[in-house]
């Protein structure tokens, strides 16, 4: 039995990220070889760290240390790529489940956890959100077909209008952040053209990352990133692949604007940029006096339906 059960899990993470003190590192170097239980705990912490990285859950500081220290060897980069594949597999599994069927079964908790529970922690809210997700997704994907049917059948038209009005009313009474950004805004539901999402910067206290549910074949996606500071005249957003740290796309530079009580930077991304998986937007502030300055990271996951 190990005598190191009291070791702080955060110390293990700092050690793995190369942020532990010299003394702590020397001690853990030794224990990682001599103490079997600690070796497994360290391995477990490393796997969890990799999964957090693949989900885009690391704080900016952690991400910097992870990129600089952890990803310095090919073996570890392979492990990071594996973690991303595992996350994508888990996401794909969750996305292919049928919410309307699952709500009627005991196993519905799995989908609730994946899509909704992380945001609200309340079964009542989870159930409401589940209906909203199912309804909004249905309206998006089947819009053309429904419009055609609406023209041909007054009964179907009345039914769908009533249903749509109900969802829009519910969406309108929700604060956008209360359900993360998993649903497009009510404006997008009405327009049925460009799905719009609102993202907040990542924080250590966040319950999880937003999940954006995109209609298959969406040509464009409109994003609004909330600004925590408003020190720059112009901003630019970069879309990054969190596992590879590759830049996938960047917005044109532009000013922030006010939406409600929030200052946001809004831009439109081609829908073809998004496959199911995890991504990060990095927002930079631009000024003529200095180089671009990071002002926020916005991790999120994309599910295509």
């Amino acid at each position: 039995m190990s005598g190191n059960a009291e070791l702080d899990p955060q110390l293990l993470v700092r050690y793995l990220l190369g942020a532990a003190s010299e003394e702590e590192s020397a001690r853990l170097d030794e224990l990682s070889v001599t103490d079997e239980e600690l070796a497994w705990r360290l391995r477990d912490a490393e796997n969890d760290l990799l999964d957090a990285y693949a989900r885009g859950d690391l704080s900016p500081d952690e991400l910097r240390n992870f990129s600089a220290a952890y990803l310095a060897s090919p073996a570890r980069r392979h492990r990071a790529a594996f973690a991303r594949a595992l996350q994508n597999h888990q996401l794909g599994t969750a996305a292919t489940e049928d919410p309307s069927r699952d709500t009627k079964r005991a196993s519905s908790a799995k989908l609730s956890r994946t899509l909704v529970f992380r945001w609200l922690g309340s079964p009542a809210f989870a159930a409401v959100s589940m209906l909203l997700i199912a309804g909004a997704t249905y309206l998006f994907v089947d819009n053309s077909r429904l419009r055609h049917q609406l023209q041909e059948s007054e009964r179907i038209q009345a039914s769908l209008k009533a249903e749509r009005a109900r969802f829009e009313t519910q969406l309108g009474t929700q604060q956008p952040h209360d359900i993360g950004s998993s649903l497009p805004s009510s404006k997008a539901v009405g327009a049925l053209a460009v799905p719009s999402f609102f993202l907040r910067p990542s924080g250590r206290d966040a319950a999880g990352i937003p999940q954006l549910i995109l209609p298959r074949g969406a040509r464009n996606v409109r994003l609004s990133l909330k600004l925590e500071v408003n020190d720059f005249s112009r901003y630019q957003a970069m879309l990054l692949d969190p596992a590879g740290l590759h830049q996938l796309w960047r917005s044109a530079p532009g000013p922030a604007k006010t939406e409600g009580r929030e200052r946001v930077f809004t831009f439109t991304v081609p829908g073809t940029m998004f496959a199911p998986g995890r991504y990060v937007f990095e927002l930079n502030g631009l000024s003529t006096q200095s180089s671009p300055e990071p002002v926020g990271t916005f991790p999120f996951a994309v599910v295509v339906k």
Partner: protein, 201 residues
């Protein structure tokens, strides 16, 4: 004082290797499990030190221990794992003096470049898809119970994940610690399978 000579060309004979296994087992026959465990820990130790040749350095460490055992009959300076760690430190320090260490550092620079300075390539897309496909193929090679354990253990985030793991341990009737070890072993096995399928050995 531990005398660790640098004899990279020395390979253990069958009897020397058997002596190493017996010494690591400390009187119990683990059927080679202790050897594999300590080797795995050494590989990870060298990986955490950003050594490119972590497998070779782990083998070099154990070769030196086997050689010392063959020359002296026994080692009483330290417990087996402790002694292996002492030798590993010497091997690591020696590796830092090797000429290729510089080129390794240079080749690793790209990994720590800021995100904006790295370009996406079609190769990255392809490798991501191939990795996912390999993972899904490897998952089918696991026993259904192992596959379920693996996916359940690594599902969720933060508190949800912790709750899920406790519940899983309860369902399986094992301690959380035992569950962690099983999940980590399965993940290692899957990673190795994916590596083989991608031809990375």
């Amino acid at each position: 004082m531990v005398n660790v000579s640098r004899k990279k060309d020395w390979e253990p004979s069958e009897s020397a290797f058997r002596g190493l296994l017996n010494w690591l087992d400390a009187g119990e026959d683990s059927d080679g499990r202790r050897y594999l465990d300590i080797r795995r820990r050494l590989v990870l130790y060298f990986e955490r030190k950003n050594c490119l040749a972590s497998q070779e350095l782990a083998d070099e460490t154990l070769n030196r221990v086997a050689r010392r055992l063959e020359e002296q009959g026994c080692i009483r300076d330290a417990a087996p794992a402790q002694y292996c760690y002492i030798v590993a430190r010497f091997v690591f320090l020696e590796s830092l003096r090797e000429p290729e260490a510089q080129s390794r550092a240079l080749s690793d620079e790209s990994a720590s470049s800021p995100p904006g300075q790295r370009a996406r390539s079609s190769d990255d897309d392809r490798s991501s898809k191939e990795m996912l496909q390999a993972l899904e193929e490897c998952l089918t090679t696991l026993a259904p119970s192992d596959r379920e354990l693996m996916l359940e253990y690594y599902r969720g985030e933060r508190q949800e994940k912790i709750r899920g793991r406790k519940a899983l341990a309860g369902r399986l009737g094992v301690t959380l610690n035992a569950l962690t070890i099983r999940a980590c072993r399965l993940r290692d096995k899957l990673e190795a399978c994916v590596r083989r399928r991608l031809g990375e050995s």
